[in-house]
């Protein structure tokens, strides 16, 4: 039992730390820097960065959520009784809710980045004023959504970390 929970904890906490760190770093450091650099450089970098970015964020988020659910079922039986009737349960489902919503918002941010990268990929010369305006709109949307998503993940971590102490 202990070895199983230890492994589940590793498979939940390690990707969780990668997810929250990457999300916060992307939202508050990388994207604002790319915004200041502007077209045509930032879309060009996004074209290269998108695939590893998606693998890192999707992979870590899905692993965190899936192994978190598995672990919750293993540490409390029957889980659903604990979820609705204890403070621990309230913190856990709130954390779960925030993480899923943050993941969804993060996905919309990635879609905006992807659209911006597609425009960047299609450029054969300097961007037209319309393309610059479109890329700026997509970039600002992606930054805003990435920030909301990152704060959502941080909130989820806070709920989960405090769950056993309430």
């Amino acid at each position: 039992m202990d070895a199983e929970i230890a492994i589940l904890r590793l498979l939940h906490i390690l990707p969780g730390a990668i997810w929250v760190g990457s999300a916060v770093f992307l939202a508050f450091v990388v994207q604002p820097a790319l915004a200041k650099t502007g077209p045509p450089h930032s879309p060009a970098l996004l074209v290269h960065m998108l695939k590893p970015l998606l693998i890192t964020l999707h992979g870590s988020a899905i692993m965190t959520i899936v192994f978190g659910i598995v672990m919750a079922f293993r540490v409390r039986d029957p889980l659903f009784d604990f979820l609705w009737s204890t403070d621990w349960g309230t913190m856990i489902w709130l954390g779960f809710l925030f993480s899923v919503v943050a993941y969804g918002i993060g996905n919309v941010a990635v879609l905006s980045n992807k659209k911006m990268a597609d425009i960047g990929k299609s450029l054969t010369g300097p961007p037209t004023p319309e393309q610059v305006a479109e890329m700026t709109k997509l970039r600002d949307r992606a930054i805003l959504l990435a920030r909301i998503g990152a704060l959502g993940v941080v909130t989820a971590v806070a709920f989960m970390a405090l769950a056993q102490h309430v």
């Binding site: 590793l10 770093f25 508050f28 450091v29 790319l34 450089h41 970098l45 290269h48 960065m49 870590s60």
Partner: protein
């Protein structure tokens, strides 16, 4: 941890695969904020981690290195301090690379050495933080 891995695995290799001009601009904009961000996060994590060790009922710093829990926490602590040092070295390499790109005085070989050093330190840092988090997370089961 996420920032360290993101930086080592996603951002730095991809920045290098674009243009030197973009690399210079991004280093100018990111490097100071990046150092500040990672250093602050590392310090907060280590200080609160030490406070947690001293306030955990039935545990204290004298347990470090003794038994399963103490060994895991000690390994985590050493790995996190190591990661902090490596991160500082990576910061120095970044500053050197940024200066080299800005001044245009560095040779291609010097720039390549800086990039290689930065890349290696980034991966070492990422591995160390994974070890630190992994050992800390499983310490109570050891």
């Amino acid at each position: 941890m996420g920032a360290a891995i993101y930086l080592a695995v996603v951002l730095e290799p991809k920045i290098r695969s674009t243009s030197v001009d973009l690399e210079r601009q991004l280093l100018n904009r990111i490097s100071k904020l990046n150092s500040l961000w990672i250093t602050s996060a590392a310090i907060v994590t280590m200080v609160t981690g030490m406070a947690l060790v001293s306030t955990t009922p039935g545990r204290s710093f004298s347990d470090l290195g003794n038994g399963g829990w103490g060994t895991m926490i000690l390994v985590g602590l050493i790995a996190s301090v190591g990661a902090f040092v490596v991160s500082g070295m990576a910061g120095a390499f970044t500053a050197k690379l940024r200066r080299g790109l800005e001044s245009g005085g560095a040779t291609d070989q010097q720039l390549a050495n800086c990039r290689r050093g930065l890349s290696t330190l980034g991966y070492v840092n990422a591995v160390l933080v994974v070890i630190a988090v992994g050992t800390m997370a499983t310490a109570r089961f050891a």
